[in-house]
Subunit: 207 residues, 2 copies
DNA sequence: AAAACAAGCTAATGAATATTAGCCTTTCGA
DNA sequence: TCGAAAGGCTAATATTCATTAGCTTGTTTT
């Protein structure tokens, strides 16, 4: 029963460390504690395991984004929530997103895997862009347009604001994926970045 | 003679499209127009071809950065060059860097290859970080510290300024690597980003 | 001109690897 | 309790692939 899931998990770990093609089904089986042919009782091929990981991520991702997308549906209705945006809460939002992306077990392994596989398939390419560029950017953009509407932030192109806020986070994230030992340095820079961002975009009179 | 180079070139193309492990030596040979065993007259193994690509890139990269690193050596001595930094020249610098990274034949294929191989080897990881994060950031940081010193730009943490300037460029670059058809959209956003950046950091009195 | 070398080829080798066949044991619903 | 399904195993298969051996041919060096 849960062997099926343990296979997925072991495969994801291996794929995220060495890439799909470099990992043999024997290795996956080994990590699970069974022999290679037994895998085929659960998945009909190696590719099928990979697809299983994709579906699993699909489910988790939709759950995660649904939780964020302001369940009240109408964005401006929730504007009150933001009546007290402080520098600290902005920092917390940034650092929170960063550490979630970097340390969530599934998210982190999945991103590394997708990084390596993105050019093998147009579908994987768009999935990557959606999860790590388009969706975060449009989410941030939405938030900043609310903050502008409330008069808390300067009015500016919210697309550009979102890019200013999120792109450094993204760059530092991919850096830490490669060199985890530089996380402290990255966090420091990220915090400085957000302070600077806050200084730039927050309206003076509401300080 | 130039077969040796043609092998490197064909291999880089294939590696950048499909990743090192997915490409067979037979495929590389085919692309060059010879048979697989003939490759071994020029390189002693598949890995050796890969290493050849790395060395070739090393040479090109050093040539390229040497050309940028202000051959006059002392940065502040060249401050005069920047006496007339306009919004347009800043945009040109950004767009120029972006299109160079995106369209230079060698740079572009190499980056895609490195993107796929970065987790296979700590050395490749640091190489990636150096070329697409550390070096560009410290270069931009240097420029902004000069611009600040000249009184053209606000004084601020130049590391953060560099991050603000470069990170969006990096994000859009990786996006276009995956989805080249979105280049126009990316260029537009990049231009808006730089205009906004200029507005934020340039001293009002020098407008 | 002869020897040596460069650079191509075909054929062979050997290892890795995904997948299938077929067998055995345990579990469990009828 | 019996039959079948679930889930494990070993052994076999077939394919792909990097690499080597050894031959040929044209060019270069002596």
């Amino acid at each position: 029963m849960n062997t099926k899931f343990r296979i997925l998990d072991a495969a994801l770990t291996l794929f995220s460390e060495k890439g799909y093609h470099t990992v043999s089904v024997a290795e996956i089986a080994d990590a699970v504690g069974i022999k290679a042919p037994s895998l085929y009782k659960h998945y009909k091929s190696k590719r099928d395991i990979f697809n299983g990981i994709l579906s699993e991520m699909q489910v988790r991702y939709e759950k995660q984004t649904a939780a964020l997308q302001m369940n009240g549906s109408n964005p401006t209705a929730d504007a009150g929530i933001f009546s007290s945006v402080t520098e600290d809460s902005l920092i917390q939002m940034g650092i929170g997103l960063f550490t979630y992306f970097l340390h969530d077990d599934y998210v982190c392994r999945f991103r590394k895997m997708l990084t390596m596989e993105q050019f093998h398939d147009a579908e994987l390419a768009t999935l990557y862009t959606k999860q790590y560029a388009d969706d975060p950017l449009s989410y941030q953009s939405q938030i900043f347009s609310m903050l502008s509407a409330c008069g808390l932030f300067r009015t500016a192109y919210t697309d550009v604001m979102a890019l200013h806020f999120y792109a450094p986070l993204y760059l530092l994230l991919t850096l830490c994926d490669r060199e985890p030992e530089r996380e402290q340095e990255a966090l420091l820079l990220l915090e400085q970045h957000i302070k600077q961002f806050n200084l730039i975009y927050k309206k003076e009179n509401t300080q």
